[in-house]
Symmetry: C2
Subunit: 158 residues, 2 copies
DNA sequence: CGATACTCGGACAAAGTTTGTCCGAGTATC
DNA sequence: GATACTCGGACAAACTTTGTCCGAGTATCG
């Protein structure tokens, strides 16, 4: 899995605490990561419609929807791509004992089992929203934690 | 995910229908895939203790345990590796507003959510055995299907 | 209203992982 | 005891992920 998923998720969480756009460089500074590479991830989020990009002098990124309506799955799919990790290549239709194509109306048992596992993972990811995560942060690290981050993000470059 | 997982799973399923060792080359012939690369996957299965390798003239691979005791998760981990796809790099401990290390006694909310999703996937994979898959094949493609494959595997090179 | 400085956006390289291949070590057969 | 067939790990190619750079566009400030 792309490691950029972690960066993107943290960005989404901290973005819940701001109203004004935050530049990618500022978010990179906060997390101490490569500014240019983080920019790429944010572009992917923008393409997926999760964040809105604002150009110009005081531009940056803002969440495009309410945090409660953005799920973990949305972010993971935006970065990693929507395709499932396992892809069935129908090898049962190959080789000397190949199953004839007309008998392959349903996916093979292996494909079905893998799809079920993938489905379980996706369901788990879909059940958690960015708002849930933001709430957990304040529970873990103290009430005003996220708010302080929001203030820092809005302040001038330190 | 490694595409070799599919090959390895198909091999395990067909190996339920034989008692004598089957060479890697024969399995590759059956599935019409690269013999040398399939050999590598089978080596991984052998290292994980799922199949037993027999050397010498009439050697090959046999399942090392009863098919009902080998789960999908076993095979996936043997090929893809045991590490979960998502790894938390603790970026909350980095940057100007870093959370002090002594406050990081529990994983961060993001890490927890991802771990839960991974756990759901693993549980789904663990709930299916090779024996289950073999049974499904006979349901899907007819009663003696797997048996015929077993006979072909044991016959001389065609 | 115009120059400016700051923003995003996509095109361009480097690194790591997956995929694929090869030849040598070892053993049951004959 | 020679032989032929097997596995096993070392070796290269292709692709994805990671990381970098410069150009296009827009709100700000004079």
């Amino acid at each position: 899995m792309s490691g950029g998923v972690e960066w993107a998720l943290h960005c989404c969480v901290v973005l819940t605490s701001v109203a004004e756009p935050v530049p990618a460089a500022r978010l990179a500074q906060l997390h101490d990561v490569s500014p240019t590479y983080l920019a790429k991830q944010l572009q992917a989020l923008a393409r997926a419609g999760l964040v809105q990009s604002v150009q110009g002098k005081s531009g940056g990124y803002v969440l495009a929807r309410p945090p409660a309506s953005i799920t973990l799955l949305d972010v993971v799919e935006a970065i990693d791509g929507p395709d499932p990790a396992f892809v069935c290549t129908e090898i049962r239709q190959r080789g000397p004992l190949a199953t004839p194509a007309e008998s392959c109306t349903t996916p093979c048992p292996i494909s079905r089992a893998m799809a079920k596992a993938e489905s379980a993972r996706r369901a788990a990811l879909r059940s958690v929203s960015i708002a849930d995560l933001a709430g957990q942060v304040d529970v873990d690290s103290g009430e005003g934690t996220l708010n302080r981050v929001g203030i820092w993000l809005g302040a001038d470059t330190a």
